[in-house]
Structures are given as structure tokens and as C-alpha cells.
């Protein structure tokens, strides 16, 4: 279900190109937004429960008379969402009001348009770009404009620190992430996500699926660099220094509350979905089944894709509740002195590998 | 070293500085205040005394008529002996040399004692109130302290005097 398919249908019905375009975008955009909202709701609930179980707690349960948070706290996120929606909308007196109000939307747009290129299954993809990988990496950095905007407009020192840290971090970690994703591109010879996934069909050595991660040692390493850089790009622990709670209160989000803050939250989880989706498509066979040939078609594609994405998101949560936080200079050290050289060597290594074996 | 030995050492270096007082406890020695900085330097640097740790400074108000006192608890990490130095100050104009630059913690302890008793430590580089707000009036731990009636428009409630204890 891509925008192109819809356009073709409308073209078959009649000749109204502008209206057809608007309709096609809206029809595919609304489910996308719902996916984003649903993802955030589920992920927040899961994060609460996962963190609770990791910390030897039970998390939200909704005990007692009435169902104030549902059974097992299932309605907790819904209740939170309602609370955030009806909260007073505060804008600091001394802030730059226009930028302050614009920032959440820019961050939201960055996450939203990134989601458009994620291949949920063979057919479920809003736009099937021929440069899908490049597109996701590119629009992924729109968010940082919003973050810097939010930090500056808040007129708060904590926000400013958070924004500066965030900008430095996201821009730096895009480089190793980009360099690592070049590995699958080199191997498949395409930037189109669907073709990338098609490249990963079949099996290697009879047992393992023919995923790029299992293809050669360099791609194996590239996956980990990509995944760790992706965690850094989404500002999650151990790289959550932009919103480091114990240092910067809430970093660039300090002055935000209510719905604007909820949008940040929504975008954060959408970003997790996007980077995990990219990692899955690029390294883990996308919507392909882990057992080659088994349940490998149709609706199962969505199941496998979301299953893999959910595992990666679970690992991110696991990290968050296990590790302490790095310091800003250590973070940069890891990026510039460790990841980037290794990622570059990887590209070199894959090139040679391909020359010899491929 | 015992207290007597310490006293002798001080008396030898600074004749006449140790005051005789019958009421003192086992580690206490009362000294004259006018040479305190030199005395403190001696107590800290002399290899046989070597009081490298300033454990505590306690301000004391001995009563409406009596003097104010600063009591310094000194301790030596090296020799593991201790001493308590008492210095009395004139009530109207309590002044003594600051030892802030000898023991770093003297900085905060002196500020605290200044805050509570108004004892001025001369030579202290940053003698401000530490626990009370900067614009607080009076010296709260003195026996003749009368609380402010209002502070920035806040009425300070007066505590009723009770008819003694027992």
C-alpha cells in the first residue's frame, strides 16, 4: 500500500492529479500517524513493565476498586495520554514563543516522514523510495533542528546545555551510523529497502538465514556499530546525556509540559521504531522469516518485521535500565576515535570481501 | 602526647599564653587570644605536636555577663592525640585571628561561629553568614538574643516564656 499504488488507482478512475495526490497522501498518512501513536502507547506501557520487572517491582497494576489503570495497568498509558492532553499549556514568559511552539512540530515531522519509508512488510510501506536508506538517514537529522530550537527558545540554561549536547551527539553519531549502513548497500548494490530485503532471502550454509549480518565478519561488526549509534541518535541510555535527569533536570525538554511534551515523547518512540526498522531491513532480513522458507510470505511479513523491531526495542530498553550514563567527552571519544575508524575499515573490508567471494 | 606535655610545649614557645583555669576538662587548655595565629601555626607545624586536623570549632556564650568563647578541637592524625583550645573574647567586641588559611575547614567553621555568635575572625577572606540568610539581624545563639519581629514582612511568632523547668 504505497502512495504510488493509490496514485495509480486514482489515475485509473479519472483525471484529477492534484486531488489524487492529496487524497493519496492523506489516506496513507492517517494510518501512519495511528501507527506512531499506537507504537508510543504500547512502547511506553512495555517500557514501564520492562523497567519494573528489571527493578524487581511490579509496575502499574491498577489494583483496588474501579479500573483506574485497567487490569495489569493496561490503561495506564491511555490515562497518561489523557492527562497530558488536558494539562495546562504553559509557555515560559521569557521564551522565544514562536520557536518554542514550533520546535515540537519540527521534531514530530522529522519522525513522521521518516516512518513513511519503513518497510513493514512486502506491501505495507507508504513510500517505496529507490533511495530509502539514504532518505531515512537524511530525514533523521531534521529532529536535531527541533531540539536545538527547543533548547534555545526555552531561555533556560539546562535546556541550552541539553540542546548543545544533543546537537553534538546526534550529528556525530550519524557518521558511524551512515558508514555502517553503507555495508549492506555495498553488498546488495541498492538503496531501495525492498530490494535490500529481497537480497537477504534464502540461506547461508543451509542453516542460517541469508541475512546481511551473517554474511561476513565485517557486516556482523557493522550491525553492532549501527545499532549502538542508533541508540545514541535516539538519545537513550547510556547515551541519554542531552536529557540526563540527574544532571540537566530534563535537558532540552525542561520547560515543556502537557501536549507539547507528549509530542516529544511520541517522536522519541517513533524514532526508536525507525532506527530499529532500518537496522532490521538493512541487517536482519527485514520481513523475512528467520527460518528460510517457513511462514515467509504475506501477512507473516508484518509479524516478522514487527517481531524483530520489538526485539531491538526491547534491547534498547534493557540497556536503559542496566547501564549508567556516559559523560559527554567519553561519548565523543567513543564516536570519533572508536566507531568511525572501525566503520571505515569495515567498508574497506567489505569491499575486499566482495571482490574475493562475491 | 598528654595534655601536660602539650601545655609545656606551648608554654615554652609562647611564655604566658596558657591561662590557668581549675574548671577545665581532661583535654582542655585555655589560651590567650592575642597570639592565636602564631600559636595555631605552631600547633599545626611543630613535628611533635602536628595537629593536622581541625575537628570542630564551637562557639560558646558563657552567660549574660561572661565572655564569648571559641573552642577549637584539634586532632593529630599522625600522633593520634587531641586537645581542645579555649579562647575567650570580649563580649562587646569579640575578635580573634582567623586560622582559615591553616586548616581549610576553618573557613566554614568560622563562618558558622560568626553566623551564630558574631565573633569576628580577623583575616578571614570571606566572612559571611552561612546558615542564616545574609540579611538576618542579631546573633542567634547568644544568650541575650532577641528574635526579629518581622523578616521581609513575615511576622516571626514569639515563643512564650515558660515558668522554668520541673
Amino acid at each position: 500500500m504505497t502512495v504510488d499504488m493509490l496514485m495509480d488507482w486514482f489515475a485509473a478512475i479519472g483525471d484529477f492529479p492534484v486531488l489524487a495526490f492529496i487524497l493519496a497522501v492523506t489516506i496513507s498518512g492517517i494510518p501512519l500517524f495511528l501507527v506512531m501513536a499506537l507504537n508510543a502507547m504500547v512502547a511506553v506501557y512495555v517500557e514501564r513493565k520492562v523497567s519494573a520487572f528489571m527493578m524487581d517491582r511490579i509496575g502499574p497494576m491498577g489494583q483496588g476498586p474501579g479500573l483506574h489503570a485497567g487490569k495489569w495497568g493496561l490503561l495506564q498509558t491511555a490515562a497518561d495520554a489523557v492527562k497530558l492532553l488536558v494539562k495546562e499549556d504553559t509557555v515560559p514568559e521569557s521564551s522565544d514563543k514562536i520557536l518554542f511552539k514550533m520546535a515540537p512540530f519540527i521534531i514530530f515531522i522529522g519522525a513522521f516522514i521518516g516512518l513513511a519509508a519503513v518497510p513493514f512488510s512486502q506491501t505495507l510501506q507508504v513510500v517505496d523510495f529507490n533511495v530509502g536508506v539514504f532518505y531515512i538517514i537524511a530525514v533523521g537529522s531534521i529532529g536535531v533542528i527541533g531540539i536545538v530550537m527547543a533548547g534555545w527558545a526555552s531561555n533556560n540554561k539546562w535546556s541550552l546545555y541539553g540542546a548543545m549536547r544533543s546537537a553534538a551527539q546526534i550529528i556525530s553519531y550519524e557518521i558511524p551510523a551512515g558508514l555502517s549502513i553503507i555495508v549492506p548497500i555495498m553488498m546488495a548494490g541498492t538503496m531501495n529497502l525492498q530490494e535490500l530485503i529481497h537480497y537477504q532471502s534464502g540461506s547461508v550454509w543451509g542453516i542460517l538465514p541469508n541475512w546481511i549480518i551473517f554474511n561476513n565478519p565485517f557486516s556482523f561488526l557493522a550491525f553492532f556499530i549501527f545499532f549502538i549509534s542508533a541508540i545514541a541518535e535516539t538519545n537513550r541510555t547510556p547515551f541519554d546525556i542531552p536529557e540526563a535527569e540527574s544532571e540537566l533536570v530534563a535537558g532540552w525538554m525542561t520547560e515543556y509540559s502537557g501536549f507539547r511534551w507528549a509530542i516529544f515523547f511520541l517522536s522519541e518512540y517513533a524514532n526508536m521504531l525507525i532506527v530499529s526498522g532500518l537496522a532490521v531491513a538493512g541487517f536482519l532480513g527485514g520481513w523475512r522469516s528467520p527460518i528460510p522458507g517457513l511462514f515467509d510470505s504475506g501477512a507473516w511479513g508484518l509479524f516478522w518485521f514487527m517481531g524483530k523491531v520489538a526485539s531491538l526495542i526491547f534491547i534498547m530498553m534493557w540497556f536503559r535500565w542496566t547501564f549508567p550514563r556516559l559523560r559527554v567527552d567519553q561519548l565523543m571519544h567513543v564516536c570519533w576515535k572508536v566507531f568511525i575508524p572501525i566503520a571505515m575499515l569495515n567498508i574497506f573490508g567489505v569491499g575486499i570481501w566482495k571482490l574475493i567471494f562475491g | 602526647m598528654t595534655l601536660t606535655e602539650i601545655k609545656t610545649a606551648i608554654e615554652k614557645q609562647f611564655p604566658g599564653s596558657v591561662l590557668e583555669n581549675e574548671d577545665l576538662g581532661e583535654h582542655q587548655v585555655e589560651l590567650k587570644g592575642d597570639q592565636w595565629l602564631e600559636l595555631a601555626t605552631f600547633l599545626k607545624t611543630d613535628p611533635t605536636l602536628c595537629f593536622d586536623q581541625l575537628e570542630c570549632i564551637t562557639g560558646v556564650d558563657t552567660g549574660e555577663e561572661g565572655p564569648l568563647q571559641s573552642r577549637y578541637n584539634l586532632h593529630s592524625m599522625e600522633h593520634r592525640h587531641k586537645i581542645e583550645v579555649i579562647i575567650s573574647h570580649d563580649r562587646e567586641n569579640p575578635k580573634v585571628a582567623s586560622i582559615e588559611q591553616l586548616w581549610h575547614i576553618g573557613d566554614w567553621f568560622e563562618r558558622e561561629t560568626y553566623d551564630m555568635f558574631g565573633i569576628v575572625y580577623e583575616g578571614h577572606r570571606d566572612l559571611r553568614r552561612i546558615l542564616c540568610p545574609d540579611d538576618w539581624e542579631g546573633w542567634p545563639l547568644r544568650k541575650d538574643y532577641e528574635g526579629q519581629e518581622n523578616y521581609h514582612g513575615i511576622i516571626v511568632p514569639k515563643i512564650k516564656e515558660e515558668e522554668g523547668w520541673e
Binding site: S246 | Q53, N73, W108
Partner: protein, 372 residues
């Protein structure tokens, strides 16, 4: 080309901030992330402990001592009653001494657990904090079982304790220790030996021994700098001279002696030592009446006493001056956290903002005790 001048920015950390451990304001001068000066402003929690103490009878001071160091209220009580007994020359029954040591050490474990957990929180690790609180909760349950209070106990009285131990306390406490000892290695696996944690704490905020002594830093912070000084060993009070335990000092395992990691590590080792003391005390505790030596009327003779004890934060000293009436003429509390905070500026210059938080956390301050 002109020279680029960077102005310094003043950043107020606190009074309301997640990592100031209370109401503390740090006025930090920064150049970007680098900190050039830290000025602590204290007094936000000043409750006139010393002035109050001059207006209530001696036994009424004990609840105030609870509220100074609210994380180790037993040890605060302990220091005060030991000083009072020295002033009044009371000999307490042996059972009371044992109970006090048991309570003091349990509270030391509870306090250290909170300090270690919160330190994890300061450097960004959330989970160890809740693991430690989970175990601390069991200690608080034992306190509640003994004296009915969970945080502020008013348990130790001059000459005795308020309640005798419940009959099965020795067994409950023994069970707890059996459960608790293996947990220490769990904390270590989760937090102490985590590479990121070591990176964040080793070599950061080094406090050399001579500076520490000059700043009057005591307790685990001083021992972290490699000075073997523990009031329990070097100036034994109560019955601490009967127990066999070590005084752990910082060795600079992953960095320099006296860094944040050492201060953290010394606390972890002290928890183990406390367990050791507790096992011995639980084994030898005699029977007796805990109220036997409590004086009917507390009216100490004229005189003064300065007595220091080892609280979880360091040398907790009480200076008590009596003029022969039932009301103290002066009670001064020498607070270990007060001296520990004063060293912050010295050791955090040149580090980053994140490090200031890490250093502050490693000093384990309690604002209730600093401001009194």
C-alpha cells in the same frame, strides 16, 4: 584573526534539582561544560537544632538528633547518648551496648545502601538504586518491628534504649544477613564493575589525603583517600573494641587513590564489615534489662564534653556544655557532611558538570545534617 573570548556562565544547580540530595544550591561557574568554580550555598534546611537544644531538656534533644541525619538516625542518637553518658558518667548494661551496636550497624548498612544506590542514580544507573532500596526496606522493617518507627526512631535513650529487642529479633536479623550477604555481589556485578561506571568514577574528583585531613573530611570519604581513621577503632566508644572488623581504605583499584570510585568502594566494603560486626554481636548478645540504667532525672554535673562517634558519614561529634540545670547550656553538633561538602569546590574545579554531580554524590551528604 581576533581572539575568541568565551565568557563564563553562572549556573545555579538547585535548590530544587534531582541530584543535590536535598535543598542545596551550588553556584557553578562554567565555561561550556568545564567547571571553574563551585560555590555551595547552604542553610535552606536550617531548623535551629542548636538553639532548640538550649530550650528543651536533655532527653528532648534526642528526637532532634534523629532529624539531623535522617538517613542514619540511629547513629545520630547513638552519638548523642554516648556523649551524654560520658558527661554523666553512666555505665549502661551490656545488653544495651549490644543493642546499640546492632542498631547502629544496621542503620549504617541502610544508610550506605542508600548512598550507593543514589550514587548509581547520579551517574545514570537506575536499577541498582531500586535493588538497594529493596534491601534497605527489610532493615527498616526490622527497625519498625523493634521500635515502631521506620525513619526517625528516638530509640536510644540516655542510659538505655526505649524498647528491648523483640524475642525473635536475633533470628530475623540473622536471616536477613544470610539473605543480604550474597546481594552485595549482585550490586557489584550490576554497578561496581560496570565499565561505564568505572569510566565515570575512576580518576574523577581525586581528594588527596592531606587535603582531606585539612578540610576535616572524615568517614568513608577520608578512608577513600587512603587514611586509616575510624573512630570505632581508634577512639572506641560503646563496645566497639570487642569486635573484630577491618577498616577498609581506598586503594585506587581502577584509578588514583581518593577518586570517586574509591569513596564508593570503601562504602561497599564497609557494608561487608558491618555485616561482620552484626554477626558477632548477634552471637554474643547477653540478657538483661534495657531500662535499668536510665536515670530518673537527667541533670548532668557542670562541665563539658566533646565526644565523636562514627556515623555512616564520618566523625559525628557532639559538644555538650552543662551548667547543672536540666537544660543544656550549649549543644553543638559537629556534622561530618558539613565538612565533606566544604571540599567540593576544591576537588571539582576543572571537571565537567556531569562530574560535579558525580563528585557531589560520592561525598554522600545529607542536607539535614549540614544545615541542622
Amino acid at each position: 584573526m581576533g581572539v575568541v573570548h568565551g565568557d563564563q556562565m553562572i549556573l545555579n544547580i538547585g535548590p530544587q534539582h534531582p541530584s543535590t540530595h536535598g535543598v542545596l544550591r551550588l553556584e557553578v561557574k562554567t565555561d561550556g561544560e568545564i567547571v571553574s568554580e563551585v560555590k555551595p550555598h547552604i542553610g535552606y534546611l536550617h531548623r535551629c537544632f542548636e538553639k532548640h537544644s538550649e530550650n528543651v531538656t536533655y532527653e528532648q534533644v534526642i528526637p532532634f538528633t534523629d532529624r539531623c541525619d535522617y538517613l542514619a538516625a540511629m547513629n545520630s542518637n547513638f552519638g548523642y547518648v554516648v556523649a551524654m553518658e560520658e558527661l554523666m558518667e553512666i555505665k549502661v548494661p551490656e545488653r544495651v551496648d549490644f543493642i546499640r551496636v546492632i542498631m547502629g550497624e544496621l542503620n549504617r548498612i541502610a544508610s550506605h545502601l542508600l548512598a550507593l544506590g543514589v550514587y548509581g542514580l547520579d551517574v545514570g544507573a537506575f536499577t541498582p538504586f531500586l535493588y538497594m532500596l529493596r534491601d534497605r526496606e527489610r532493615i527498616l522493617d526490622m527497625f519498625e518491628y523493634t521500635c515502631g518507627a521506620r525513619l526517625l526512631y528516638n530509640y536510644m535513650w540516655v542510659g538505655g534504649v526505649s524498647h528491648d529487642l523483640p524475642k525473635d529479633f536475633v533470628k530475623i536479623c540473622g536471616d536477613f544477613l544470610d539473605y543480604f550477604e550474597p546481594q552485595i555481589s549482585e550490586y557489584n556485578e550490576l554497578l561496581t564493575y560496570n565499565k561505564i561506571f568505572i569510566e565515570r568514577t575512576a580518576d574523577v574528583g581525586v581528594l588527596p589525603a592531606d587535603v582531606a585531613v585539612s578540610f576535616g573530611v572524615t568517614g568513608p570519604n577520608l578512608r577513600g583517600s587512603g587514611v586509616k581513621w575510624d573512630v570505632r577503632k581508634d577512639e572506641p566508644y560503646s563496645i566497639y573494641d570487642r569486635f573484630d572488623f577491618d577498616v577498609p581504605t581506598g586503594t585506587g583499584e581502577f584509578g588514583t587513590v581518593g577518586d570517586c570510585f574509591d569513596r564508593y568502594w570503601v562504602r561497599m566494603l564497609e557494608v561487608k564489615e558491618s555485616v561482620k560486626i552484626l554477626r558477632q554481636a548477634l552471637k554474643d548478645i547477653p540478657d538483661g534489662d534495657v531500662h535499668q540504667a536510665i536515670p530518673k532525672k537527667i541533670r548532668p554535673p557542670k562541665g563539658s564534653v566533646y565526644r565523636r562517634t562514627e556515623s555512616p558519614r564520618g566523625d559525628l561529634g557532639y559538644y555538650i556544655i552543662s551548667d547543672g540545670t536540666p537544660v543544656a547550656s550549649r549543644v553543638k553538633m559537629r556534622s561530618p557532611a558539613f565538612t565533606a561538602l566544604s571540599v567540593l569546590d576544591e576537588i571539582s574545579r576543572g571537571w565537567m558538570i556531569s562530574d560535579v554531580i558525580a563528585i557531589l554524590g560520592s561525598l554522600d551528604i545529607v542536607l539535614g545534617e549540614i544545615d541542622r
